[in-house]
Symmetry: C2
Subunit: 214 residues, 2 copies
DNA sequence: TAGATTGTTAATCGATTAACAATC
DNA sequence: TAGATTGTTAATCGATTAACAATC
């Protein structure tokens, strides 16, 4: 029951898939959904889906299934999707612009409130509703607005030092799209998104001709 | 020894991290590297790194370590990074443009050779060396050039039907950045890259204040 | 030789799955 | 009641880690 237990990481990574299936069911005015259907979305057997969902407490009704609306809102609470999460984004290149205007984030509670770049020629440019600011303003901005999340979408070379500035300014979580492993104080959580590494595993499985899980 | 054994998926996902550390070592003219150093890059103990690397055959020397250049080229072969992998990309939005010009892919053998979009106003636009082509040309292009990899960077709604066109034209591997789970014949491998799902797990661990592995 | 580090065995740990009583 | 589906137990499976002989 609930947040205090130790939840397997693979399970945490599947929960968002169940949630996505639930959103789809909501759109279709489907009121009840089975562990079978949820499992399919995540590519796991029904038993696995039930086990995963049991971490939220008893969320379904035996003989019936799961109430779509109820389970969706439980998952939202469980994953913290309802909380407003303000973030800054550094790097106004192609990837940074893609992230700044990614349509799905709002629904999950993420709001990118400022955009920074080192390159003087990019300062002042507008990306969606945001204006690119100079890196020098990062520290003050983060402190003043008490921002906890930093998204790092720069090339590899400047990433480490920018991450350090973020950490000093009080950023607690860094979502890192730069292909480097950051060395930071343990209190800073780092989530790496390494496209080149993903490509390498894709390459491996493609050669093997064998399907991984996705 | 080698490709025929069954390699744990977590291991396959760590190999690219060792590889990245090796590239760095090469740049620094470091000739020998230990399992300890490699493990640090991937966030695992030295024993794990050794076990992982043992899937490539005996790659190190007891009492000494691993030869940086040799291990790097072994990993390249093992992961198939040396093979030229031609891909098409569909979706010329922000994310598509970011991917089309992502600097790291070339090093890993990926070459994006064409870019497609549905939107007539985008056709003909240049993105790097590529020109955006109309969706109607996708099938013929893929067949003619025998392209095996399709990168899907569209919004959710059109993704399923585009994926089907890809599959029909002979695409064997789809790297899917659209937030949908694709229903395709089993022969098509799908690698999902779901930023919203990643954000949801980030949200969860942030609330918990506990560090996952990265 | 002494010190270092690999490759691998065996033990541990953790996640998945099958099966079924409980429930609707 | 008969049929369906959950939540959970116990068994299985697979990955990680500790430890150490073999090697340099």
């Amino acid at each position: 029951m609930g947040t205090s237990e130790n939840i397997p990481r693979p399970c945490v990574m599947r929960l968002p898939h169940y949630y996505r299936r639930l959103l789809q069911a909501l759109q279709n005015h489907q009121a009840i959904i089975s562990s079978q259907e949820l499992g399919e979305e995540a590519g796991v057997p029904a038993a696995q889906a039930r086990r995963d969902l049991s971490y939220l407490g008893e969320a379904g009704r035996p003989g019936v299934g799961y109430g779509v609306a109820e389970l969706a809102s439980r998952l939202e609470r469980f994953l913290g999707l309802g909380e407003l999460k303000e973030a800054i984004l550094v790097g106004a290149g192609n990837l940074g612009r893609a992230l700044a205007s990614y349509p799905g984030f709002g629904r999950y509670g993420l709001r990118i409130v400022a955009l920074f770049d080192r390159d003087p020629t990019k300062i002042g440019a507008r990306i969606g509703a945001l204006e690119v600011r100079p890196m020098e303003e990062l520290g003050a901005f983060v402190r003043q607005r008490k921002i906890k999340i930093g998204i790092l979408a720069t090339p590899a070379p400047p990433a480490q030092s920018i991450a350090e500035w973020m950490a000093e300014a009080g950023i607690a979580v860094i979502w890192n799209f730069a292909p480097v492993s950051l060395e930071l104080p343990a209190r800073v959580m780092v989530f790496n998104e390494d496209l080149a590494a993903r490509l390498a595993t894709l390459s491996y499985y493609m050669m093997q001709g064998k399907e991984p899980r996705g």
